[in-house]
Amino acid sequence: MKHFTTILGHEIRMLLVSSSTYIAAVLFLAVMGFVFSGVLENYSASAQETSPAAVFFQLFWLPVFFMVPLLTMKCLAEERRLGTLETLLTAPVSTTEVVLGKYFAAYFLYVMLWASTGGFFHILHSFAGDARFLDLGPLLGGYLFIAVSGLLYVALGVFASSLSRNQAVAGILAFTLLFAAIIGVRFVGTLEVLNLETMQPLRAAVDYTMVFRHLEDFTRGVVDTRQLLFYVSGTVLALIFSILGVEAKLIHS
């Protein structure tokens, strides 16, 4: 893994000089700014039981659906389309190093973009001058959830990118996977059939993977290791499949 840092540094640099990164960042901050101002409007209209941070993070899936595909769709698909993957893999580097380098670069940017929304809370705190608006518990819990769940979402994006040489296909595939992981599971959880006695194991599995329940726990300050394990093991699995995806394409190229 001695080339991991070289690839990571290079990938971060390439992301930072790419115009698409800035387009994605502006889009992300604009959407999150609207969400945040909407939350504040609700608070100014009537008293709310939860803190603004908890409500703000409830809508985390909205930017995930467009940000993660935008950040990851290029990483392997574009390299394969241009043929630069061949040049890269004929240097003394392994597929694992390449995939991990690209994955952590995209994850770094994802976390950085979310971290920049911390400015919203800072502005709120400065102008409102009321410490109650800045309830640190839900805020830190929310950011921790974003960081932990982001591991899996970015890995799913990288996996989608490993399956196609077309960026658009990779992007749509990433969106579909994220939609299935976030909204799909929530929908399955509402199915009546899961309430049957015989379906209890499936019900337990669906409950375990329910992302919104995880978010609720994190913002309440409950960090369940089972949930951490879910995201970490899911990430590892998605990355292993990404590596296998790249290698399988090489064998059949």
Partner: protein, 334 residues
């Protein structure tokens, strides 16, 4: 026998995918310091063989060793022994030339201390110094192969593999690339594939012609001419008693000299004739002297026909097709 293993050793290499055999039992050896030209029509299996040599693609069967190291089991080591330039040399559009070389140098484990001076050196060698700060997206196409060569020789590996290095270059750039490759002779082993046959002839010590995944001819360009055509050819323009007197006159000069083709006489009575001989050395001078001295003939022109590598290539690949069409036929190799 030398204790040092050859630079490249390929034995019965087979690569097939999706029911198609791209490379079928190819065998060849490249000595250290040798420049080998790899020729073949499109789809002959050149690029596939090169990719297997670099460890990028796994082979279906066979054995490939680079500097004595088996590619199949130790591909990580192989990548350090090879500098590879793929066809069209794809480059990331957003990077600068020097930045790219720096990144590749780091991946190739060149120590930081040596990397800067080495980059300056290869930029100078490949005539890229003036464009070192330009980004690839704004760089003319002609620079791409040169960047590829600079990248391939950057870590000074013992083996360089280049897939079509002169494609899309103007004559001036071809000259630079040719000189560059020639400057590697003796220091590095170079394997080049190309469609520009005169380039291969001028640059390479030896040529390997493949067709349909098989080796159809191998040797120096001179060997190949001899092997493929089997005889020397002369073009003669002559007037006189050709049918009756010429065969005996030719035998007097060299017994193997024979009349192969006779053209129609032109307005001045001269005919264009093609002569063949099994002798490799030039018979031009004795032949011209004998025919000029003979009062039965009038000689206007005599020329030894040197088949170009292009002719060799066409005959060898055609022969390959014919051999492959026969189910029991074995392709000629080595």
């Amino acid at each position: 026998m030398s204790a040092e293993p050859p630079a490249i050793e390929v034995r019965d290499l087979v690569k097939s995918y999706s029911g198609h055999t791209a490379v079928s039992r190819i065998s060849f050896t490249v000595a250290r310091g040798e420049i080998l030209g790899f020729l073949g029509p499109n789809g002959a299996g050149k690029s596939t063989t090169m990719r297997i040599l670099t460890g990028y693609l796994p082979a279906t069967a066979g054995e490939v060793n680079v500097c004595g190291v088996p590619v199949a089991s130790r591909s990580d080591e192989i990548k350090k022994l090879i500098g590879y330039m793929p066809e069209n040399n794809p480059l990331p559009d957003d990077m600068r030339v020097s930045e790219y070389l720096h990144y590749r140098g780091r991946l190739k484990e060149i120590p930081r201390r040596k990397l800067g001076p080495r980059i300056d050196e290869v930029l100078e060698l490949c005539d890229l110094t003036r464009v070192r700060h330009r980004i690839f997206g704004k760089l003319s196409k002609g620079f791409r192969p040169r960047v590829g060569i600079a990248e391939a020789i950057l870590a000074e590996p013992p083996v360089i593999i280049m897939d079509e290095p002169t494609i899309g270059l103007d004559p001036h750039q071809i000259l630079i690339v040719r000189d560059l490759i020639a400057s590697l002779r003796g220091r590095m082993t170079v394997l080049i594939s190309s469609h520009i046959l005169p380039e291969i002839e001028k640059t390479c010590d030896r040529v390997l012609i493949v067709n349909q995944g098989r080796v159809v001819a191998t040797g120096t360009p001179a060997d190949l001419r001899r092997e493929v055509f089997g005889q020397s050819r002369y073009d003669l323009e002559l007037a006189g008693d050709i049918d009756a007197a010429l065969p005996s006159a030719l035998s007097a000069v060299e017994p193997s000299l024979a009349l192969a083709e006779t053209g129609e006489p032109d307005a001045t009575g001269f005919r264009r004739l093609t002569l063949t001989s099994s002798r490799d050395d030039d018979l031009g001078e004795p032949l011209l002297r004998a025919l000029s001295a003979d009062p039965r003939f009038r000689v206007r022109a005599l020329r030894r026909v040197q088949p170009s590598l292009e002719d060799v290539f066409l005959v060898a690949t055609k022969r390959g097709w014919e051999t492959l069409d026969k189910p029991s036929g074995a392709a000629k190799s080595q």
